[in-house]
């Protein structure tokens, strides 16, 4: 029983890690008043970028390249949304479609439609001394690949930046009341541009995590809607970085229920588990309805300069 619970928690943290990266990035973007549906595109490009870089160089370099691949996609989104002021939702949808098609095309061109897939050895988990020996939780939370530990650092860092720095205040001001922010001399457009690029980098890291720390290879469409799920997680976490991280973990837990079910020997059609994340997202969004305060100018077109 303890074993099954340990496996369950480990699975929860594993699933939650890429989701948390993407969702934390999106949190910052949405706090600046932009909703980036193209996050899915950053994740899939980060996955392919990470794989190629990992095959050529070390793991650290691969994560940086994954992040930059995600940023490149976000740059395209940022140009359309902040400079051309296109509809954020439609632009984001197009960017996702573009990235899924592009990565699929590149991968098929490089390795053939059914040719030998490029595989890399995945990042090993490195147990932290002492912490990993905490009963039940230690193994799940502190015997993970190092990228997960990076996440533990990023959560408080984003919180501190958002709530304790001038730049963070400026960003939140742009999302809540752009007119006032602009009157105060803040360049709304520049803030949003920067936030989108940061969100893209985090999305890229999410994709990199999938490939470098988990799958060890790339598959067409392997992001499997994680970008959209991350956007839902931001809502569940009410746009607060710490809560968003816990929402991602909750989500990972729901997803890891299948391990618990398997351990219990309950047979359920496996498609139910595959569909579960999406159903849960819907239930979660409906469940918190009317009790959340979104950034006031989220997704709206505002005259920024």
């Amino acid at each position: 029983m303890m074993d099954a619970l340990g496996t369950f928690l480990d699975g929860a943290v594993r699933t939650a890690t890429p989701l948390a990266f993407a969702a934390l990035g999106e949190t910052v973007v949405e706090r600046a008043g932009i909703i980036n549906i193209g996050l899915e595109g950053s994740i899939i490009c980060g996955a392919l970028g990470g794989l190629i870089a990992s095959a050529a160089h070390g793991t650290g370099f691969a994560f940086v390249m994954a992040g930059l691949s995600g940023t490149a996609v976000a740059l395209l989104f940022a140009i359309f949304v902040t400079l051309l002021r296109s509809n954020q939702i439609i632009t984001g949808t197009a960017i996702s479609l573009f990235s899924l098609g592009l990565t699929g095309t590149l991968y098929r061109q490089m390795y053939g439609p059914a040719g030998a897939a490029l595989t890399i050895s995945t990042m090993h988990s490195s147990p932290l001394p002492f912490l990993s020996r905490i009963p039940l939780f230690g193994q799940a939370f502190f015997s993970q690949p190092p990228i997960t530990y990076l996440l533990y650092g990023i959560v408080p860092a984003i919180w501190w930046w958002l709530y304790r720095t001038h730049a963070g205040l400026a960003l939140r001001a742009v999302g809540e009341n752009p007119e006032a922010a602009i009157t105060a001399g803040i360049s709304g457009r520049r803030v949003q541009f920067g936030a989108i690029l940061f969100g893209g980098f985090m999305g890229g890291l999410a994709g990199g995590t999938l490939v470098i720390a988990q799958a060890g290879t790339f598959a067409e469409g392997m992001s499997a809607g994680r970008g959209f799920i991350a956007i839902a997680i931001v809502v569940l976490g009410r746009w607060r970085p710490v809560a968003v991280a816990f929402a991602a973990l909750l989500f990972g837990g729901a997803n890891a229920l299948q391990y618990l079910f398997q351990a219990m020997g309950w047979s359920v059609p496996y498609q139910i588990f595959l569909a579960l994340p999406y159903v849960l997202t819907l239930c979660g969004l409906a469940g918190i309805a009317g009790r959340v305060h979104a950034p006031a100018s989220l997704g709206k077109w505002v005259e920024t300069s």
Binding site: F80, I89, A94, A289
Partner: protein, 313 residues
């Protein structure tokens, strides 16, 4: 190219265009009303599943009425799938973009479950259903080709949709709801909430019809990869047509040709067919990029003002 080969090529393009016209209309109707339905893909699949079920289970009993009944049932299932998102939108203020995308994934796994479980063909070898009986198959327009009357139904739907939007009170309410919801509401004439919901349901029904027609005119069975992303391509189809139903017929045929060509290129020249997604995305971006130019009067046709007005909030 011989005349016969040309005929086969053109009919293949129109066969491919048929689901794109239906789903393109689905997207156009929703976007016109300011509802950002990204869920045509899921509604297509659920519609296909329902229509297949009706034809498989009741086909022999229904005689010649099986086709209309199956297509109606498929449309209803598509509308039901959209209704979930419509309900979440109006009751819980859940952004329909997120909910419809989630429902797309749920639909994919629902089909996967059905074709490996209750609806699997009797030998239980292949992940697909049995073929529907011949009385349930859509008649061909041209003998010796694959072109079925579903194409004519799609064209008729486009023309009807165009006429309804232009000439009826309901069409006017729908366009006004999308163009300026607050004005439409405060004028006191239009229940914008209800209009948007109706547009959402019609959109789902059209996508469900697309799936039903695909099964009854082309594949004759349900299987997992029934749709190569028709519901997503539909967004490009609708936007390029400026959300005009008549335009959707044209752009649907255009994209049908594009995708038929891409399959041929993959087969003959080894160019990945996924490239089509890239081209489609670039077309959407090009339409968006042209928007500011239009706003400045540099282009005459005001194609996407409706899309701009469809901004959430």
């Amino acid at each position: 190219m011989s005349g016969l080969a040309l005929l086969a090529l053109i009919s293949d393009m129109l066969v491919r265009a048929t689901p794109l016209i239906f789903t393109g209309l689905a997207v156009a109707v929703a976007f016109q009303a300011g509802v950002l339905n990204i869920g045509a893909e899921g509604q297509f699949l659920v519609g296909a599943a329902m229509a297949t079920t009706v034809s498989l289970q009741l086909g022999p009993a229904l005689g010649f009425t099986v086709i209309p009944i199956a297509l109606l049932a498929g449309s209803a299932a598509g509308a039901l799938w959209a209704w979930i998102a419509a309900e979440l939108r109006s009751r819980f203020h859940v952004l329909e973009v997120i909910s419809t995308i989630m429902l797309n994934f749920v639909a994919v796994y629902l089909i996967s479950f059905l074709v490996r479980g209750p609806l699997q063909e009797p030998s239980h070898v292949y992940p697909q259903t049995s073929s529907i009986i011949s009385s349930a198959r859509l008649p061909l327009i041209l003998p010796e080709t694959r072109l079925h009357i579903g194409f004519l139904i799609a064209v008729a739907a486009g023309v009807t949709g165009w006429w309804l939007l232009r000439n009826t009170a309901g069409g006017f309410r729908l366009r006004l709801t999308g163009a300026n919801p607050s004005a439409a509401f405060s004028a006191g004439l239009i229940d914008t909430e209800r209009t948007a919901r109706n547009a959402f349901l019609i959109s789902g029904a059209l996508a469900g019809l697309a799936g039903s027609v695909e099964v009854h005119g082309v594949t004759f069975a349900l299987y997992e990869n029934l749709s190569p992303g028709y519901g997503y391509t539909a967004i490009a189809v609708a936007l390029l047509a400026g959300l005009n139903p008549l335009g959707v017929i044209i752009t649907g045929i255009l994209f049908g040709a594009l995708e038929t060509g891409a399959s041929a290129l993959q087969r003959d020249a080894g160019i990945p067919a996924t490239l089509v997604s890239v081209i489609e995305a670039l077309i959407i971006l090009a339409v968006l990029a042209a928007e500011p130019l239009r706003a400045r009067g540099l282009l005459r046709r005001d194609v996407t003002s409706v899309v701009q007005a469809a901004e959430p909030g």
